[in-house]
């Protein structure tokens, strides 16, 4: 029987699949796609074994939940006045947070890989695609299992490089190559912050081990200001990966990758890594000054707000869904900004979000696969042609909007409950985004699936996707519909979670968990807002969508502002062109003028010149040489005697 001590197998199997596929895919039948799918399926099954072992031990302290070995030890490294031992440990640890993440990553990974059988059929680099997908999942699974920051950082970068490879899968297309580069560079900015944070913690704690560092933080062994700084650096890494403002620009561009990859990045890997990291290091946030959590809260709120508005005007269906991801990620960060109380809701949101967001993207992929169009201006009226896609997309969109009783409803309600306990300002701000979210989800659904087809040719071409693609949709739709019910205690108990999902997650942080109570007033208020948003969406974009066109014409400035994504991308481009490249010009001038002209060529010219002056000694006349020789001997003799004397 596999238990938590064998949890390392979960990432190890996809990792092996990557190695096999990367080198041998050309020699295998079907380019070895079955190996990748078999690997993630095995990981999914192992997850259940691990889950059973963990749930058996609850409630109470977890035992035998770690495994691993010290790979490399270097003693006595000095850094800024501190001497520490450096231990590179390949260590794994399972707890409640990890379990939630494992469930999400293995399941969504499996769905995406099965779906890709249909979607990627006959595409270029099919075997390589499956290889990188396996590595992506292996990295992400290691990330959630890592028991120390160093291993976490290594696989954190692994996730980054895999997303780079997958976003740039069609790298022959310039926009895809640029998007991959943008995603990589933008997240790299955050990664540097993460590394600095990890080094700061290591310098003070002398270890990379998470639980040791958490214990030290709780015991107040860190200087609070120092800890706050380190924690905020960690958050910088999380913000980069989770595409929080001001790093959000890479995520919508990441749509250039194959659609199943978008589903994977948005739902299970990559962007939720940041949310997971913040949830994981919550003890550090709690031990820091309050300001650290306020930063998380503020960043989350800004992200939620700007993305909700941008979602209203985008015309690419994948981009609309991408902005909805930003919206969701912002919400999760807001929840984490509430501190310990927000971890449960944030993880619940992450859990249900994984299903409905994977669903939305895979349904988008189904539309794109059928019509080869992704602009809503070229779609429309697909509902009758693609009933399964249409219905499942509707489920996903409504779950995203937060309609009763779909999973999104419970997820966002729990965040609202936590917000209300915390303070009214974020509570009201979150409420304000609800109708906007509902509106743009309705908009993208209506423009794609109902109304008159705008591109007759694409519409005629359209057909329902093959079963390999529609079955994952149906499965995910089912889960997106019901996943929220895990908050209720009886249902939680039925699947082994004592005191429901929230209590299960919370028990990682605190001994006494809150009993779950359904908050009727908040549920009613939020449902009214969501309902209003949905209704408004139908009114504005239903039929001819005349009100929408009118509004865009009435407020061209606002429309332009939103279409240009609040000019954040433009500002970054300006900053790169002027500040970065300007600085680069200064450096280039220094390189040319000082290093090259003065240093390299200068020393050469000095030697050359001296050689020119000295060469005239070589007269070719024998008496000159003889005289020089004799004078030299004489001088040496005089010097020798005077030194001796």
């Amino acid at each position: 029987m596999v238990d938590m001590e064998q949890a390392w197998l979960i990432p190890a199997i996809p990792a092996v699949a990557f190695v096999v596929l990367a080198f041998l895919n050309g020699y295998l039948p079907r380019r070895g796609d079955f190996i990748a799918i078999g690997a993630i399926a095995a990981a999914f099954i192992l997850f259940f074994a691990v889950a059973i072992d963990l749930l058996d031990q609850l409630p109470g302290e977890l035992e035998h939940n770690t495994s691993g070995f010290d790979w490399l030890t270097i003693n006595g490294i000095q850094l800024l006045g501190q001497t520490n031992d450096f231990v590179l440990r390949i260590g794994f640890r399972v707890d409640q947070l990890t379990l939630v993440m494992l469930a999400v990553v293995t399941f969504v990974g499996l769905m995406v890989q099965v779906y890709s059988l249909g979607y990627m059929k006959g595409e270029v680099r099919y075997g390589w695609y499956y290889a990188v997908l396996s590595l992506f999942l292996a990295s992400m699974l290691t990330l959630v299992l890592a028991d120390n920051f160093l291993l976490l950082y290594i696989v954190w970068e692994g996730v980054g490089i895999c997303s780079f490879l997958l976003i740039g899968h069609y790298f022959e297309r310039r926009s895809a190559a640029e998007a991959a580069k943008k995603a990589f560079v933008t997240t790299r900015l955050g990664d540097v912050a993460l590394l600095i944070g990890i080094i700061l913690l290591w310098r003070e704690a002398g270890t990379f081990d998470m639980s040791e560092i958490f214990h030290m933080a709780e015991a107040g062994e860190f200087d609070q200001g120092y800890l706050t700084m380190a924690t905020l650096f960690l958050f910088g890494g999380a913000a980069g990966k989770s595409a929080q403002f001001p790093f959000h620009v890479w995520l919508p561009d990441a749509m250039e990758g194959p659609t199943p990859v978008s589903a994977l990045i948005h739902a299970a890997t990559m962007v939720v890594a940041g949310v997971y990291l913040v949830a994981r290091v919550m003890p550090l946030f709690e031990a820091s000054y309050d300001g650290a959590l306020y930063v998380v809260l503020a960043v989350g709120l800004i992200t939620t707000f700007i993305s909700a508005f941008m979602g209203l005007v985008m015309t690419d269906i994948k981009r609309v869904v991408a902005y909805s991801t930003l919206n969701s990620l912002g919400l999760m960060m807001v929840a984490l900004g509430f501190g310990e109380a927000g971890v449960g809701p944030a993880m619940l949101y992450l859990f249900s979000h994984a299903f409905f967001k994977a669903l939305l993207f895979l349904a988008c992929g189904s539309v794109i696969h059928a019509t080869e169009k992704q602009e809503v201006t070229a779609l429309g009226g697909l509902g009758r042609k693609m009933p399964i896609t249409s219905a499942t997309f509707a489920v996903g969109a409504l779950a995203m909007a937060g309609l009763v009783p779909l999973s999104g409803f419970f997820a966002k309600d729990e965040i609202l409950v936590a917000a209300e306990h915390f303070s009214y300002a974020p509570f009201i701000l979150i409420l304000a985004t609800l109708p906007i979210t509902a509106m743009y989800m309705v908009r993208v659904y209506l423009l794609t699936f109902s109304g008159e087809p705008k591109d007759a040719h694409a519409h005629e071409h359209a057909h329902e996707s093959p079963p390999l693609m529609s079955w994952p949709l149906v499965l995910l739709a089912g889960l997106a519909a019901v996943a929220g019910f895990v908050v209720f205690e009886p249902i939680g108990k039925a699947i082994g979670l004592e005191s429901g999902f929230l209590g299960f997650v919370e028990s990682v942080l605190v001994e006494e968990v809150h009993a779950f109570e359904f908050n009727w007033p908040i549920a009613i208020v939020s449902s009214l807002l969501v309902g209003g948003g949905l209704g408004a969406g139908v009114m504005i974009w239903g039929g001819e969508a005349a009100p929408a066109t009118a509004a865009a014409a009435r407020f061209p400035a606002v429309h332009r502002l939103l279409l240009n994504k609040f000019y954040v991308d433009a500002f970054y481009q300006w900053a790169i062109n002027n500040v970065v490249l300007g600085f680069a010009k200064v450096i280039a001038f220094f390189d040319r003028a000082v290093i090259n002209d003065t240093g390299v060529n200068g020393s050469g010219e000095v030697t050359n010149g001296l050689g020119f002056l000295l060469k005239f000694q070589q007269t070719g006349k024998l008496p000159n040489y003889a005289l020089a020789m004799i004078l030299g001997v004489a001088v040496l003799a005089i010097v020798g005697f005077s030194v001796k004397g």
């Binding site: 070589q618 070719g620 006349k621 024998l622 008496p623 003889a626 004799i630």
Partner: protein, 108 residues
């Protein structure tokens, strides 16, 4: 009865050798004809040989190390003369001169 070596002090030999050597140096520096330079070099070599013999007799009577060195010097001088005269002959054939000032192609 004292030997000649005992009646004449060592310094006389050294002085004579030094004069011989200096004449050789002067000859090397002042002559322009290659053959004369070669002869001056021979003078310098012989001065050194005289030195060797004198030291051998005055300080190393039982052994013959200095004398052996003197023989070596004579052998090397002979070899050198053979070589150098050969070179000078070739130069003369080529350029119809043995004046070293006119043989100055090997320069900057």
């Amino acid at each position: 009865m004292e030997t000649a070596a005992e009646q004449i002090p060592l310094e006389h030999f050294l002085f004579a050798a030094g004069v011989l050597f200096s004449i050789g140096v002067y000859g090397v520096l002042s002559r322009r004809n290659a053959v004369l330079i070669l002869m001056s070099v021979e003078l310098m070599l012989n001065a050194v040989a005289v030195n060797f013999v004198a030291f051998a007799v005055y300080t190393d009577g039982a052994l013959f190390r200095g004398l052996i060195f003197a023989v070596f010097v004579i052998i090397i001088a002979a070899a050198e003369v053979g070589l150098a005269l050969g070179i000078i002959l070739r130069v003369f054939r080529n350029r119809a001169t043995a004046n070293v000032d006119e043989v100055s192609q090997l320069k900057w």
